[in-house]
């Protein structure tokens, strides 16, 4: 045995670059422009860095590099984008089509999957679909262009999970501003059903009603703007029963509001605006229906023979068209006049709004919301004084989303506040998308003949909600579906025999009370999933088709989250899809050409050689002087932007009600028609605290998760981060824990009040994290996305599933509370007990 000198390795200090930790771990080979289309709706543009990992010697996508020229991300990106890089190589990715051999469905069954060629499987699926009536088929899918075409050409129901995120906003925005939006908004890669973003970096004052959820903590595309605004002095007031890290410091003020009572605060603020005349008269006069007359008897706008709104002329003492009246009256009345042989009593929208909110004082709101009255009044005044450079951002699962039975009312009040302050379509306020348009498939390849009718009684009960159904059927087929009731319909009826899940990495997890859907799927003839991962859904599926990763696709997108300037960005595939992966466009086309070919050929024939091309990008690019995607990506590096000054109030005229002299509509006739309030009134949430069921359910998700996406849930690095931050626990206030006798880490069972979940309850087991970030003793915070049970996700099975606690809704109940028919995802009280 030889013995080396003991200090042989103690070398003198090395010159720079010689230390092992001064050497890079990889060599960059190329940078591929991409747009982040599935992590969130910011859709940050960035480069995927491809290189050689020095440890493994393999060339692969390694990380992300920012693109400062993108007006949304401005060179930033988030942890989810980084997660997507590694998920390209997730060993559990689905790369082949699976076909069930064991007819018994369910998580406790081995499906006996065998591998079949994707094309062969698709042919088999098509032959099976031919055996069913259109009323018996459900596509569980968002309204992307190809799914829309497919479902409309087949005359089948499409219903999806987008309701959860965007539905309430979408329908209120459609009813108040865009009517309908389709002509103006684009068939972007991720349609967020919104036409505007917020000028976070220029705004002077923001009100956030639950906007600062944990999921927002990593939305780089908006955070970089919010922080710029903060550095420039933006005041941010947050109402949230959870104290997020944003509330710690970026927020100027934070109020732990009682869940589901934000509406009381906004009503009181409108009361202050109106009583103290803190509104922008010129905006109301020129860009809203505030001066329009409402027939007190019919509860509808009074219109002339051309359908134009009328106002009351103070000079001529008679109704005149709102756009030409030289002295319209804002308040007072009622005004009496004859029209078509009938005496009409009418008041202005403004007057009715004033009457509607007259009792909603700050003192009244304080008793409901537990936000001090003097603070409500002060904040309202400050907000109005900063107008029009103010905004109330709402994008997804904030309090104005589909969270409570009164959220549609809250969204209504928020839009009214934007109108009263003149911040709609104004720099520093709400920025309207302008100057860009990616056409829809219907625009570039219009169908040769009208589509067949949709099922009269769809399984998601859309027909029971005439306001949103009218938009869906007649104005925008991509409108959000009723995911809060589709499970109820599948379980309680026998209408559907075939379910086709089209939404990679969502499926069952996207549905509230998935146990009800699982039970319903047991009785289906045929269940198909197009998925990136073998998640829970596949245990109920007959076929599972493999979807591509987002970095294996081309992208073309607008800049909706910061639409200050007209802008397009594009992305190129980082790699070709591996294995037997099949794209959705091909699936839709093949099914369409087989079952409804006349809608999938350019001339309405059945000749496959005349199949539609579906090129939605070239027309958009040509309009800005770019030949095609190849030209765009090669010569423009995938970005086009026109940095012209933002023209305040220009787009309202183009897109609003009564365009080309468009206006914001504060008063919603459609609600009056179905017996709901056309102007916002207070209404409590659906559920209430009862006995042990006293914890109001709050749902958020980790900044590094997107929905229940295994791209992140199945990532062992992110799972470590999840555990370190107690995201796999339920969070309650320490005092609540003390009252329940619970220590940190205690095992508990959470159960929904059975009064509100009458069928198929599934209590949830979890560990408790005691945290003052849950600021109220009457709340419990759950994190969405976990709770996978698929044995084929080797790193993904941990935590609990929040959706198990959220009931699917009986449409008869929903109709009584909400004309939009949304999910009410947090309108739930639960009991917490030691396990």
């Amino acid at each position: 045995m030889s013995v080396s000198p003991p200090l042989r390795n103690l070398q003198p200090t090395r010159p720079f670059g010689e230390h092992p930790q001064e050497k890079p771990k990889y060599i960059i080979k190329k940078k591929v422009p991409q747009v982040c289309a599935r992590a969130c709706e910011c859709d940050c543009a960035y480069n995927v860095v491809v290189g050689v990992d020095r440890i493994t010697g393999l060339e692969r996508a390694l990380t992300i590099e920012g693109r400062p020229e993108d007006p949304v991300s401005r060179g930033k990106y988030c942890i989810k984008a980084l997660g997507f890089v590694d998920s390209l190589y997730d060993p559990d990715r689905l790369l082949v089509t699976l076909k069930r051999t064991n007819p018994k469905r369910g998580l406790d069954q081995d499906p006996g999957f065998v591998v079949v060629k994707s094309n062969d499987a698709l042919k088999e699926i098509i032959e099976k679909l031919k055996k069913y009536k259109r009323e018996e088929i459900l596509f569980n899918s968002p309204g992307d262009p190809y799914t829309n075409r497919l479902c409309r050409s087949l005359g089948v129901t499409r219903s999806d999970q987008r309701t959860e995120c965007f539905g309430t906003h979408y329908y209120l925005n459609s009813l108040m501003v865009t009517n309908p939006p389709n002509k103006y908004y684009s068939s972007t890669y991720t349609v967020t059903h919104s036409l505007w973003g917020y000028d976070y970096s220029k705004t002077k004052y923001m009100l956030w009603f639950g906007f600062d959820s944990f999921s927002k903590l990593a939305k780089a595309g908006i955070l970089n703007h919010i922080v710029e605004g903060k550095r420039n002095g933006t005041k941010i007031v947050v109402f949230n029963p959870v104290k997020t890290p944003i509330a710690d410091s970026i927020a100027s003020e934070w109020y732990p509001i009682k869940p589901g009572t934000d509406l009381a605060v906004t009503l009181a603020m409108i009361n202050i605006f109106l009583n103290e005349k803190l509104y922008k008269v010129e905006f109301l006069k020129n860009y809203s229906d505030a001066y329009a007359l409402i027939d007190i008897e019919t509860k509808l706008h009074v219109v002339d023979e051309k359908g134009k709104w009328l106002s009351w002329c103070g000079t001529h003492n008679k109704p005149e068209p709102i756009n030409s009246c030289d002295n319209p009256t804002l308040e007072g009345g009622s005004f009496s006049f004859e029209s078509n042989g009938r005496t009409i009593e009418a008041k202005t929208v403004f007057q009715l709004l004033k009457e509607s909110v007259k009792d909603y004082t700050p003192d009244w709101a304080a008793k409901i919301s537990e936000v001090p009255a003097e603070e409500i009044a002060r904040i309202a005044r400050e907000f109005a004084q900063a107008a029009p450079m103010v905004c109330i951002p709402n994008l997804k699962r904030d309090a104005a989303g589909p969270n409570y039975a009164n959220s549609w009312r809250l969204m209504h009040t928020i839009n009214i506040m934007h109108a009263l302050t003149g911040s709609f379509d104004h720099e520093g306020g709400v920025l309207f998308l302008n100057g860009v348009k990616i056409p829809w498939l219907e625009d570039v390849d219009p169908p040769a003949k009208p589509y067949p009718p949709q099922p009269k009684e769809p399984v998601d009960y859309r027909n029971e909600f005439p306001v949103s159904n009218d938009i869906y059927q007649n104005k925008d087929y991509s409108a959000p579906g009723h995911y809060g009731m589709v499970g109820y319909g599948l379980y309680n009826t026998d209408k559907i025999k075939v379910v086709f899940f089209r939404s990679p990495h969502r499926g069952l997890h996207a549905l509230i009370q998935p146990q009800m859907v699982e039970a319903a799927l047991m009785k289906m003839d045929l269940v198909i999933d197009w998925n990136l991962y073998p998640d829970d859904t596949i245990y109920w599926c007959d076929y599972v088709l493999p979807a591509p990763h987002q970095y294996e696709e081309s992208k073309f997108d607008i800049r909706q989250y910061y639409p200050k300037w007209p802008c397009y960005v594009g992305g190129s595939p980082v790699q070709q899809p591996p294995g037997d992966v099949i794209g959705w466009g091909k699936i839709a086309k093949e099914i369409g050409l087989a079952l409804a070919p006349e809608y999938w050929t350019t001339d309405g024939s059945q000749d496959r050689t005349k199949a539609i091309k579906g090129d939605m990008y070239t027309p958009a690019l040509k309009a800005v002087g770019i030949n095609d995607m190849n030209d765009f990506m090669t010569n423009k590096n995938g970005i086009w932007i026109d940095k012209k000054p933002y023209e305040n109030y220009k787009t309202i005229k183009e897109i609003g009600y009564g365009r080309p002299e468009g206006r914001i509509r504060l008063y919603i006739d459609e609600f009056a028609n179905v017996g709901h309030d056309p102007l916002p009134k207070w209404s409590p949430r659906w559920t209430s605290s009862e006995g042990e069921y006293k914890f109001s359910l709050l749902v958020t998700r980790a900044p590094w998760h997107m929905h229940a996406d295994p791209n992140f849930i199945n990532n062992p690095v992110l799972n470590m981060l999840t555990r370190k931050n107690f995201i796999d626990c339920i969070w309650i206030h320490p005092d609540a824990g003390k009252e329940l006798g619970l220590q940190e880490g205690a095992e508990v069972v959470i159960e929904t009040n059975p009064k509100y979940m009458t069928d198929v309850p599934r209590p949830v087991k979890a560990k408790v994290h005691l945290s003052k970030r849950v600021a109220r003793k009457d709340c419990v915070l759950l994190f969405h996305g976990m709770g996978h049970r698929s044995k084929l996700l080797r790193n993904g099975v941990y935590g609990y599933r929040d959706g198990d606690l959220i009931p699917q809704k009986n449409p008869k109940i929903v109709k009584q509370h909400d004309p939009t028919g949304m999910g009410w995802v947090e309108d739930v009280y639960v009991r917490i007990k030691k396990a």
């Binding site: 080396s4 771990k25 990889y26 930033k76 890290p245 470590m720």
Partner: protein, 241 residues
């Protein structure tokens, strides 16, 4: 290198998104290590604020002072670096760090801690090579620059906004400076005295003796282990390749 670099963390703009954490993992190819619970930087969402657990890059690092094999070394440009091939795995640095930062990776038999992305700092003057965590921070909460300039900036921001500064004096001063609304120790940062290991040794003759004795003992005890360790590390690196 002529400059001495530093990182300033203004927690007022940190959201706890942990993009810095994952960027660090990718930049340094630490996926397997991180999956097992070891990391160079990570943000913990605490009740009273955000706790960034990462190397403070002390001016007079305790880890360097106690390391019997000079595996840890303070560079003249700021970062404290670690050389796995010199490390004997005694874990003295893990115990000695007053900030509780170095982590021992049992699988790879290595210390895990931040390098301030030393490999990126060759062209700082060019303006592009900054630490990965700083580059990626969506809110600009992390700022990289010359130590003296960042200290001046930190003092000014703290004064204007009534913030606490962490890192100016702790353990004799560090090259990571943290600004926080709350007292850092309330958030979760360790309460660390001003004195460093070296300064305590200088102050106390007995300390010098004791320190020297301790180092000597460790050195002698580690000689055999050290030789074995080199072979162990070499074998491990070969298997990784």
């Amino acid at each position: 290198m002529a400059s001495t670099y530093s990182i300033l963390l203004d927690t007022r703009f940190c959201t706890g998104c942990n993009t810095c954490f994952y960027k660090c993992v990718q930049e340094n190819r630490l996926h397997d290590t991180a999956a097992e619970g070891h990391y160079r930087t990570l943000v913990l969402i605490k009740d009273d604020g955000l706790y960034h657990r990462r190397c403070m890059h002390c001016k007079e690092p305790s880890c360097e002072a106690v390391c019997p094999t000079a595996a840890l070394s303070k560079t003249d440009y700021g970062p404290v670096l670690y050389d796995a091939e010199r490390c004997i795995g005694c874990k003295t640095c893990v115990a000695a760090c007053p900030f509780h930062v170095p982590q021992w990776d049992e699988t790879r038999h290595q210390v895990v801690k931040c390098t301030m992305c030393a490999h990126r700092l060759q062209d700082v003057a060019g303006g592009k090579t900054i630490p990965a965590c700083v580059e990626v921070c969506p809110t600009g909460a992390l700022i990289f620059g010359e130590y003296d300039e960042l200290v001046a900036m930190a003092k000014q921001i703290a004064s204007e906004n009534k913030l606490h500064i962490y890192g100016l004096e702790e353990n004799g001063g560090t090259h990571l400076i943290i600004l926080a609304k709350e007292k850092p120790e309330v958030i979760g940062y360790p309460a660390v005295p001003r004195d460093t290991v070296r300064s305590r040794e200088i102050k106390s003759v007995s300390g010098v003796v004791a320190g020297a004795a301790a180092v000597a003992a460790l050195a002698y005890a580690g000689i055999k282990k050290y030789s074995e360790r080199r072979i162990q590390v070499q074998n491990f690196n070969r298997s990784e390749e």
